[in-house]
Symmetry: none
């Protein structure tokens, strides 16, 4: 099983002791979601928390960074999926085994380790 370690103070994410190498923005996205594990966070809220302001129509920043984070996490743990999409709503952070079920349904258990 993949061991996830998060160090907010250093903006570092490690999986099995390997650094994910997230950039600042990428980590912010990751952290906003990870802090709210198992909860669905709307794009509006994510945007507001990171960029301070209302999410402009058709702004795709959040999606783009979610993807970048996904790519880096997947590189370290191909058999796990961390960020799940809730169509029309937002994203949810929940470490789950299995490539990616893409989301909306599925169970809700898991235990990530939020070290601080």
């Amino acid at each position: 099983m993949a061991n996830l370690e998060i160090r907010p103070a250093e903006m570092q994410v490690l999986i099995d002791d390997q650094r994910a190498g997230l950039t600042v923005r990428e980590f912010q996205i990751f952290w906003v979601l990870a802090e709210r594990q198992d909860r669905v966070v709307t794009r509006e809220e994510i945007y507001r928390l990171i960029w301070d302001g209302r999410l402009p129509r058709r702004n795709r920043s959040v999606d783009v960074f979610v993807r970048k984070v996904r790519v880096k996490l997947e590189k370290l743990a191909p058999e796990w999926s961390y960020i799940h999409t809730h169509f029309g709503i937002g994203y949810r952070f929940s470490p789950e085994p299995g490539g990616d079920q893409s989301s909306a349904s599925s169970a809700a258990s898991s235990n990530g380790n939020l070290n601080s």
Copy 2:
């Protein structure tokens, strides 16, 4: 017994910790009824609250979404029924054990009493 959890802010419905996976519209229908638990809500009102406007004759949107919600809830709790039909009137949300009793009949007689 089935444990029902509703998170309006996330538009999520969980039964025994399993996500129902409702879409935005589906959740809206669910929420309009759940907020008014044990009350019969007319199609007209449901439509007005979600679509803003008068329910066009022969518009079946409400029925279709009620079904979609029922299917998803039933998947998680086959032994429970949540949304009950009141023929000629509308729908009522009340979690009840038992697959489906298809509910109270209640007539829409001229001296009928309309709860408000």
